[in-house]
């Protein structure tokens, strides 16, 4: 578990670095080196740290631990082949974590980041629909069962493309610089992260790294099925580069428009689900 956690952190940080690099290259900038995020995290770990005067101290510190805790739990569930319903729960609770980060500091930038995070809660629902669609096909929500199903019947990417699309959109909305990343809009400085610095920020970066690894890895497990380690790495890089392309060429949406688009996608997905339920 410790090795897996370490690999997830390092892999996630490298993937986020690659994300920045690809975006920069698409936009014809040199961009930072790929290991930039690793350096960031190390640098933050050794900076001086305190709690701001206006902050709510318990929440300010506690939320960092919660962030790392929930994603570690998610990683454990993925490794154990547990229920994706739990991952779905963790994913939705990440919203609360962002919210807590922003509100606990008392800073107006953090607060607006947090409020934006809360209003975009509709972005989680496509994941739920995707989960439900998978359940319709495989009859189980345990990741191990779903992987086994795909080993027999071929990847779900081909069987249920709309579910894959919904999950892709969900991952996209969690990537930095994406059209739906309204919580990190540049007019809010760093959004909900603004006031967390030093070790707290390093903790947040670690949580984000685990989150990126878990989400991308989960997508591959759910929609491509069992892969060899090498194929897994290649596939995760391809998936990330495709996400980076989308992020690089699209502008950020206005907050409420982002919410509305995500809500509309949810409605379409619900229609698909009803169709799935009715036809067989």
């Amino acid at each position: 578990m410790i090795e897996a956690l370490f690999a997830a952190v390092l892999g996630g940080l490298l993937l986020l670095g690659l994300h920045r690099k690809v975006i920069a290259r698409v936009q014809q900038r040199p961009g930072p080196p790929v290991w930039q995020e690793v350096l960031h995290t190390l640098k933050f770990s050794f900076k001086s740290t305190w709690v701001p005067e206006t902050a709510s101290p318990g929440l300010f510190v506690g939320i960092v631990l919660v962030a790392i805790g929930i994603w570690t739990a998610a990683l454990a569930v993925v490794l154990a082949g547990g229920s994706i319903l739990i991952i779905f729960g963790v994913y939705m609770l990440h919203k609360i974590v962002e919210h807590g980060f922003g509100l606990s500091s008392g800073s107006p930038y953090g607060k607006f980041g947090a409020v934006r995070s809360v209003i975009s809660a509709a972005s989680e629902i496509p994941l739920f629909v995707s989960v439900a669609a998978i359940a319709v096909f495989t009859g189980s929500l345990a990741i191990s069962d779903i992987v086994a199903y795909q080993a027999v019947n071929g990847p779900l990417l081909i069987i249920a493309p709309p579910a894959a699309f919904a999950m892709y959109l969900v991952i996209l909305s969690k990537m930095p610089f994406s059209p739906f990343a309204i919580v990190e809009g540049k007019e809010l400085v760093s959004g909900y992260k603004t006031e967390h610095f030093g070790v707290w920020r390093a903790g947040l970066e670690v949580a984000n790294a685990i989150k990126t690894s878990v989400l991308l890895g989960l997508f591959l497990l759910l929609f491509l099925g069992p892969l060899s380690p090498f194929a897994f790495v290649v596939a995760i890089v391809i998936l990330l580069v495709s996400l980076s392309f989308v992020c690089a060429v699209t502008p950020m949406l206005a907050p409420f428009d982002s919410v509305t688009i995500q809500a509309l996608v949810t409605v379409v997905m619900l229609g698909y689900l009803v169709l799935l339920g009715v036809i067989p």
Partner: protein, 218 residues
């Protein structure tokens, strides 16, 4: 049942109402517990506001009586969400959800800001309306299957709950937790007092996550 949130680890018996702990509900329970403890131990933050057109910056303080009341409400809300995620009885679940709705209103209603009070009132109206589909859903499940125990419903020994009843349950939880209406809930978050305000969004998410499981197993 075993395929969704995992097999129950432990079942607590209160007469005909069972409380059961699966990996899924336990995860949710622990999260509710963590945030309830955070609400209990944290002092509220001082929200910094900048006045437009001037260079004045001031920090909003939360008065002590307000803080005590809202902390009480936040803890009640945490307990209600814990109840909602672990209860194994459908009607009991709807009651816990209704309790979450009213505590959410309570957390923000104590704030003396006009915008916040307006939003809290509108939200309270929706929460009150949402009890109609909630209780109706539970009533229809009881009439068409003869039981309210989620364990019995999931075991497949009774008829499946009708689609309509499940839709009502979802609609009711959506109303109590305001899940898709966060856009309007943002008004309520103008209120200072992060540890308490955060319980509002946490509890709505938790009940939403739970109802997702419930409608899939019944």
């Amino acid at each position: 049942m075993s395929s969704l949130g995992g097999a129950p680890w432990y079942i607590l018996e209160f007469g005909d109402e069972l409380v059961y702990f699966t990996p899924y509900t336990t995860t949710l329970l622990i999260l509710a517990l963590v945030f309830t403890v955070l609400a209990l131990v944290s002092r509220p933050e001082r929200q910094v506001e900048a006045l437009f057109g001037t260079d004045a910056i001031y920090a909003k303080d939360t008065t002590v009586d307000q803080m005590r009341f809202r902390r009480f409400m936040a803890i009640a809300c945490g307990c209600a969400s814990m109840g909602a995620v672990v209860t194994g009885d459908l009607f009991n679940f709807t009651l816990f959800v209704a309790l979450v709705g009213i505590t959410n209103v309570g957390i923000v209603a104590a704030v003396k800001n006009r915008h916040v009070q307006n939003a809290a009132f509108q939200y309270g109206l929706v929460a009150l309306t949402a009890t109609v589909p909630l209780f109706a859903g539970a009533g229809i499940v009881a009439a068409t299957t003869g039981t309210l125990s989620i364990v019995a419903l999931a075991s497949g020994t009774v008829p499946q709950a009708p689609f309509f009843a499940r839709a009502l349950l979802c609609l009711g939880v959506v109303g109590e937790g305001m899940a898709p209406f966060y856009a309007a809930k943002a008004e309520m978050f103008r209120a200072p007092g992060a540890p308490y305000v955060i319980m509002c969004s946490l509890s709505s998410l938790l009940i939403f996550l739970r109802v997702a499981e419930v409608v899939m197993v019944i």
